[in-house]
Amino acid sequence: MLGFIVRRLLIALPTLFLITLMVFSLQLLLPGDPALALAGEERDPAVIEAIREQYHLNDPIPVQYAHWLIAALHGDLGISLRNREPVTSLIVDKLPVTLELAILAMLIALVIGIAAGLVSAIKKGSRWDFGANVVALSGISVPNFWLGIMLILLISVRWGWLPASGYTSPLDSLAQNLEMMIMPAVVLGTAIAGVMMRHTRSAMISAIHADYVRTARAKGLSERVVMLKHALRNALVPVVTMGTLQFGELLSGAVLTEQVFTIPGFGKLIVDAVFNRDYAVVQGVVLFTGTVYILMNLLADLLYYLLNPRLRA
């Protein structure tokens, strides 16, 4: 077990190193002098020189990279050019909002995706199967932002059931928070539900044909027990792993969902930073997501290992 974790960590490290290199070179690609950007209105050469010194801009590039990396390792991702706030605290502020959205969306995706996949695998070739497939394909084919706008038009504007946009912290009012989050979570969840449904279906179909299912049936167990306890439990192994890997998808979706529903989360932070050319924030966010994504990959491997006893032998 320990050996496995160490081996996986050793594979993850070079990837992480490459990500830091790529994020760092992002700032070299940019046109313009970063010292001038940091100075703002100030045009005094002495001040600009001082900034250059302070941010190590006069050093050779590898040295600059080392300074940057050491600071990043200490949690210092620089300062937002726009509102002068540390990038780290911006990320820490916005993250819980997106995390809540992502968890709600994942719950919706798992419930719909696994249930629909299960039904369509058991009733393969039936109307149920066809219907579930159409829903899954639509989930993949409908752009997230468009579904969001259409839901706002229908549910908020026409029927007035739910608020169209905004955000309230769950600490202030949980009911109001859920009221505002449910629509974005559904929009984000359906896109992933489609993927989950397809994985559950194909994993379930292989499981149904497996020997252990035949054995379970031969023992005289009821179909319900065979399907839920034997087939589904095995089929869920790859599905759970896939779920962890949907993180990137979830984040991309959150960028759009937050934009449409004006939720002040991580995704909106990224889009605003790109539009304001606030590159320190873009860099910090990309570095952060890349790192989290690698950790999620590690977690997926670990889950796979834990859920699949055959790998432990």
């Binding site: 752009p143 279906r201 998808e249 790109v274 539009f275 890349g290």
Partner: protein, 282 residues
């Protein structure tokens, strides 16, 4: 030909192919099919208060916030979607295949480096990378096509890589080697023909992803720039109006969904037909 017949027997695929054909015709013959110039701002295309007009006999799908004919903009928008779909997906397929085949066939350190790089590209959410690139590079039609290609080749490279390794390990390749076939002969007369179905399936499914990504980038304002119409930027431009003029969001959205769904359905059917082991299972 038999493949096409097999595909056409599925009702959903026949409808999808018909729709794709309609979009292709619309894109090719846009100047003759569109009732108006897509950039012309009609004086009578706005209400007295300056709001867009709903669908009517003069403007079949209504007008946009500058008094331009929406139907004409959607027809010309088909060009944008298809150009990006074909060009950027084409580039993605070529890069993905080259990387995947090289990494799977050459193996060794070249293979490791290539696949590690692919992993690295995988580790960024594609949309985030595309937004960052598009923002730095100042978007135009061709830049957007390139940016989408840069993020979309990764998936194809992974699939082709896995497929190449599994085919290269097959007995018939070993037999070829023992009778003295060189690597190039194995590559071109054995590996590539066997990879073709996979490439075809992913090329089709990839167009759907590409169309969606273009629409998404344009919706965020970092994609194709107005006045050139694209289905995504029509929605982007109309954002402030969407509660009072929902046709501006509804029609381009339906076009995006229908095109993306069509390529997905055709791609899925192709996969079923070309890979007999999957038949009836997926």
């Amino acid at each position: 030909m038999t493949l096409l017949m097999a595909l056409l027997q599925r009702k959903s695929v026949a409808i999808s192919l018909l729709f794709i054909l309609i979009v292709v015709v619309a894109a090719l013959f846009a100047p003759w099919l569109a009732p108006c110039d897509p950039t012309q701002q009609f004086f009578d295309g706005l209400t007295i208060e300056g709001a867009p007009l709903p669908p009517s006999a003069d403007f079949y799908l209504g007008t946009d916030l500058l008094g331009r004919d929406l139907l004409s903009r959607i027809i010309y928008g088909a060009r944008t979607s298809l150009i990006i779909g074909v060009v950027s997906n084409g580039i993605a397929v070529v890069i993905g295949t080259l990387v995947g085949v090289t990494a799977g066939f050459v193996r060794g350190w070249v293979g490791s480096v290539l696949m590690r790089f692919t992993d690295l590209m995988m580790s960024f959410p594609a949309l985030l990378l595309a937004i960052a690139l598009a923002a730095i590079l100042h978007p135009s039609l061709w830049i957007v096509a390139l940016v989408i290609a840069m993020v979309n080749w990764v998936q194809i490279a992974r699939v082709i890589h896995a497929q190449t390794i599994s085919i290269a390990a097959k007995d018939f390749v070993a037999v070829e080697r023992t009778i003295g076939a060189g690597p190039l002969r194995i590559l071109f007369s054995h590996l590539l023909p066997h990879l073709l179905p996979t490439i075809l399936v992913w090329a089709t499914l990839g167009i759907s992803t590409t169309v969606l990504l273009e629409a998404t980038l344009s919706f965020l304002g970092v994609g194709v720039q107005p006045p050139m119409p694209s289905w995504g930027n029509i929605i982007f431009e109309s954002q402030t109006y969407f509660t009072s003029a929902m046709w501006l969001v509804l029609f381009p959205g339906i076009a995006i969904v229908a095109l993306s769904l069509s390529f997905n359905l055709v791609g899925d059917a192709l996969r079923d037909e070309l890979d007999p082991t999957l038949k009836g299972r997926l």
